[in-house]
């Protein structure tokens, strides 16, 4: 069984780990100034919503060219967000979102991606 890509995996891991580790291991993270804490408090909603928005609105082709995508996925994410806002229950929101998309695809309303 070939194993040469294990070395590539290790190099990719080495390229990823500092992003994840440096802020966690830096000294003094528990004594950050108040404005920095205020900023970091807002990183969560900003980056998570950015991830959600990019995931459902931007498609990438094989050459990493991007294009705008408008589809049922927008509605599904909106439905999940509404359920979470109303019921504070992510699991129900995810079931609603996945069910909506699966039903639309099963009935041919939208094509499979």
């Amino acid at each position: 069984m070939k194993t040469e890509l294990v070395v590539l995996a290790a190099l990719m891991g080495l390229a990823t780990y500092p992003w994840r580790a440096v802020p966690l291991l830096a000294p003094g993270v528990d004594r950050l100034p108040r404005p920095v804490l205020g900023y970091l408090r807002l990183v969560g909603p900003a980056v998570l919503m950015a991830l959600a928005a990019v995931s459902v609105t931007v498609t990438i082709d094989g050459d990493r060219q991007t294009s705008l995508h408008v589809g049922i996925e927008w509605l599904a994410v909106g439905a999940c967000a509404t359920v979470v806002a109303a019921r504070r229950n992510l699991l129900i929101g995810l079931v609603v979102a996945a069910g909506l998309v699966a039903a639309a695809r099963a009935w041919g309303i939208v094509p499979l991606p």
């Binding site: 194993t3 890509l5 590539l8 995996a9 290790a10 190099l11 990719m12 891991g13 390229a15 990823t16 992003w19 994840r20 580790a21 802020p23 966690l24 291991l25 830096a26 993270v29 528990d30 004594r31 804490l37 205020g38 900023y39 970091l40 408090r41 807002l42 990183v43 969560g44 909603p45 900003a46 980056v47 998570l48 919503m49 950015a50 991830l51 959600a52 928005a53 990019v54 931007v58 990493r64 994410v77 909106g78 439905a79 999940c80 967000a81 359920v83 979470v84 806002a85 992510l90 699991l91 929101g93 995810l94 979102a97 996945a98 069910g99 998309v101 699966a102 695809r105 099963a106 499979l112």
Partner: protein, 236 residues
């Protein structure tokens, strides 16, 4: 940081339930990754090494394409660093909660910090107002690391008999979970503005340049827009 006061057991119960959808998503796309890696000529050991050592779905899928396309290893490693740069923001946002956690434990926590682990654990920490290591391990290992790695092995070994997860709408679980958890973090005007500006910027930069840069731009600049809003006086 201490803004929540929810009962720990209730918060953990909620965290476990919130994570169940992520388990389904991680398992489904771990299978697809294993299958894609097999199709690209990865051996089971190589595909598993990617999932164990890199443990970052977007970068792993991209790597399959790069290897198939004959990219140089240096190019693959540089692109991996670029795609995964957003993890810096996750670690920075979690860091203030983990100041009292022993450094070796933080070093291990860092390796399993993903989009999903961040989303679930930052919501949990804010709910209870402090760090909770068992909660973090559930978010990072229970919902993502273990299902992703097991599914990778199954995908690369079993191969083509796997049903397409998009038929079941599993592809929408990741963005829906990120959006839903973001909504859960919106406790004031500043959070709402940070999320809206962050998402608009992210899409604009993604379309103009690259999604990895877009997510980073949204995550970096959205909070600045939020801070520019007049907020309530901090009570802490």
């Amino acid at each position: 940081m201490s803004e929540g006061s929810t009962d720990l057991r209730a918060a953990r119960r909620r965290l476990v339930i919130d994570g169940l959808g992520i388990v389904a998503s991680s398992s489904g796309f771990g299978l697809v990754y294993g299958l894609a890696a097999r199709s690209a000529g990865f051996s089971p050991i190589e595909a598993s090494a990617m999932s164990l050592l890199v443990f970052a779905g977007a970068a792993q899928f991209a790597a399959v394409g790069y290897v198939l396309g004959g990219f140089s290893w240096l190019g693959v490693v540089i692109l991996t660093a670029f795609i995964n740069a957003r993890h810096f923001l996750y670690a920075a946002a979690l860091a203030p909660y983990l100041g009292r956690t022993p450094r070796p434990v933080r070093a291990v926590m860092a390796h399993v910090l993903t989009d999903e682990a961040f989303a679930l654990s930052i919501s949990h920490f804010r709910r209870i107002g402090r760090a909770d290591l068992p909660g973090y391990w559930w978010a990072a290992l229970g919902t993502t690391f273990v299902p992703w790695n097991v599914a990778t092995v199954v995908g690369v070994v079993v191969g083509g008999s796997i049903p397409d997860p998009t038929r079941f709408g599993l592809d929408v679980i990741f963005p829906a979970a990120m959006g839903g958890l973001a909504v859960g973090l919106m406790t004031g005007r500043r959070e709402v503005v940070a999320a809206l500006v962050g998402s608009i910027l992210a899409v604009a930069v993604s379309l103009a340049w690259d999604p990895a840069a877009g997510i980073l731009a949204g995550g970096l600049l959205g909070p600045l827009a939020g801070l520019a809003m007049p907020g309530p006086r901090e009570s802490r």
